[in-house]
Structures are given as C-alpha cells and as structure tokens.
Symmetry: C2
Subunit: 189 residues, 2 copies
DNA sequence: CGCCGAGTTGAACTGAATCAAGAAACGTGG
DNA sequence: CCACGTTTCTTGATTCAGTTCAACTCGGCG
C-alpha cells in the first residue's frame, strides 16, 4: 500500500485527506501461482496495482493457441483495460505466474472517486497517458524492429522476466514461435 | 468547431460556461497538401482536433526509409502524443496529405484548462482511454494477424484511406513492402 | 512530348513457421 | 530424496510468406 502511495506521489501531490479517502477503497488480494486473475469472457471489474508478483496476459485462438500479449510490472497498474473501460467481457486471460500480491479498487468505487476527487481524475489521466506511451513504443517496435531486436530490448528493459518466464511465453510476446526464439538466443550467445 | 463540441458532448456533458472558456483557447489552422504538420526533432506543442483532411505520421530510419505509423481521422484528436506528453522532440513526421483544417490548443493552455475545469481533466482521461483501446487493438493485430488480415481490417474500418492514400504508405502501415501489398491485393480480388 | 513517381510483376533469397523427434528441466507422489 | 511422467527447450528438415533487386507499365504533369 505504501508502494502505491509512493507511485502516485511521484506523479502528483495528494493531500493526506484525499489519500485517506482514496486508499480506503482499495483492498488487498493475494493470488497463488497458477491461479487466474481473470479469464476470457469475464469482465474486468478492478483497477489493480501490483505490489509483488507476476501476471501474464494472453489470448487464445480457435485452435487453442495462446498468444502472450503482456506481463504485469511490480509497482504499476495492470492492463486488462479494454474490458475495464468498455465494461465488456475480456478477450484476455490473466494468469498468475508466481504468488502475487495486489491492491485493487472496484470500478464503481473508482468512478465515485473520479467524481469526488479532482486529484484522482488527474491520476487517471496521467497513468493512462503513460500507458499510451508504452503501447506506442510497442507499436513502433513491431513496425521497425526484427524479432531479435525485440528480444534484446526486452533483455535490457526487463531482465527479470527472462529468469521468471518460460521461453515460450516470451517468444509469443515478441511475436515468434518458441523454436524461432530458441534459435535467436543461440545466435546471440 | 461545432464538430469538436459534438465530439466532446458525446462523451461528457459540458456546461455552456465551461465550453465558452475551453473553446476560446482553440485556434483554427489550415495546412495545404504536402506541407508538414510536424517534423522529427520538433516538439509537439498542440493538442489538435481534425475537422477535415488527412495527415500521415511516419518515422525515418538511418537509411532514409520511411515507416508509416498512423493516419489522422476526421472528428478525432491526432497522435504525436509521445512528444506532447513527454515534452521531448518528436521522432515522428506529420505530413499533410490533402488540405487539412485543424482546431488546436496549446500545451500551456491545455494544462491551465486541466487545472481550472474538472470537466476538461475528465475529457482528457476519457480521450486517452480511447487511445489505449486503439493501440491495444493494433498491438493484438501484429501478434495474431497476417498482413493480409490487417489489410482487410483496414479495408473495413477505413475504406476512405484506400482511396486517398498511396499504396506504399498503406503497405508500411500494415507492416509489409509495397510489392507484398500489391500481391496481397491481387490475391484478394 | 518526355519525364518521374507509383504500381505491378518476376526471380532469387531469407527469416520464420511448421512438423517432428530427442534432450533437459521440473514437479509430484511415493 | 529419488523416480517417473510431463512440460519445456533444442535441433533438424521442409515449407511458406515476405524481402530484395530488377525490369516494365501506367498516369499525371511540366
């Protein structure tokens, strides 16, 4: 919870009063490894801050092939936003890879906070802007970079993932098959 | 200007008073075809609403190859957000393809509006959320779809682009060479 | 009329997908 | 703590989508 406070304080100045109200609407939730944060077809009802742990998001096609779309980051909000914003069922699965401790606020509570506290609205805008930057970077990487470059970028930006996440998930996040990534790794080393 | 009002009104209810203040900070700007909205190295200082026209955004690599990253849409804000949010020079070029009429607000004015009008902060948040949805969709299309499918998607979502935009720009937006797209088109028809 | 950029088509090449099999690592129950 | 079965990773052979290089056509414009 303190980590969330720090995260927000880095972007905006929240008064004690506002923080007390806002933080009172969050609840802690701990998921064991291999459980599901969310499954496709369910609607995302929470905005969630990752205190500790790791979540993988993926979609499944008709043949049952999984494509990893993203991972959670400690000290950040996590991203089933399409369902959260639209209030429609999620296409994404959120799978807990290691025991994960989250703080979450319900959609309805968040809307109420948006209405009551100007600062929360601002936090929402700023956090969403950050997200656009991340997505734009990823868009550009698909258009201008090779699979090998995307792997090396990941290696630099999130080296811990390479330890904790099976190669096949990294592969589909990068946009190639596990076999192809295995060969890329061989080539590099 | 009325179009902007309608666009915003669709998402939130703005009082007349707020609209008068907010809209007073916008100015109209008309660019002729083949001019530049923005060049790489310049910093984006405006949030811009497209009333009429078409803008292409692209990056250039060291060898001078262009990659088209996106297009503007009439009745929407346009997207050199990475520079606008971070206040750093843009990597993107914004090239005017046909005569384009824009309404724009300066960064400083927008920040002032964010501070003075709660409703503007909300508009900012909601518009940014929409942007995340668009980017997420595109991310997914790169991970799970073929070049041919991305072309067909574009065909369905923005058929006017196929008329107005040279094939080579569409090709790089989709992520292939002009030759490859030419063959895809042949295959389809 | 001639030029130039855009689009098409062809041929050779390449990175990655697919199919398949074997090796290594992992987890679970005894 | 070991043994077994399952999952993950690697490696090889083949196929395929898309790239690259190159030549040619077409349409617009000076």
């Amino acid at each position: 919870m303190q980590r969330l406070h720090q995260f927000l304080q880095k972007q905006v100045d929240i008064s004690n009063e506002d923080w007390l109200l806002f933080s009172s609407r969050f609840e802690e939730k701990i998921y064991p490894a291999k459980s599901f944060y969310l499954k496709a077809g369910e609607t995302e009802n929470y905005l969630t801050f990752v205190d500790r742990g790791l979540v993988r998001f993926y979609v499944e096609d008709m043949e049952g092939n999984e494509t990893t779309v993203g991972f959670s980051f400690e000290g950040w909000f996590l991203n089933v936003f399409s369902s959260f914003y639209t209030r429609k069922p999620s296409m994404y699965y959120g799978e807990i890879l290691i025991e994960t401790s989250l703080w979450r606020i319900h959609y309805d509570d968040l809307q109420e906070m948006y209405n009551r506290l100007k600062i929360v609205e601002r936090i929402g805008r700023l956090a969403t802007e950050q997200l656009v930057l991340l997505k734009s970077e990823r868009e550009l990487s698909f258009l201008t970079k090779s699979a090998e470059e995307r792997y090396l970028d990941l290696f630099n930006k999130a080296p811990h993932l390479l330890q904790q996440v099976p190669l096949k998930y990294l592969a589909s996040y990068i946009g190639v098959t596990p076999q192809a990534l295995s060969r890329i790794r061989k080539r590099i080393s």
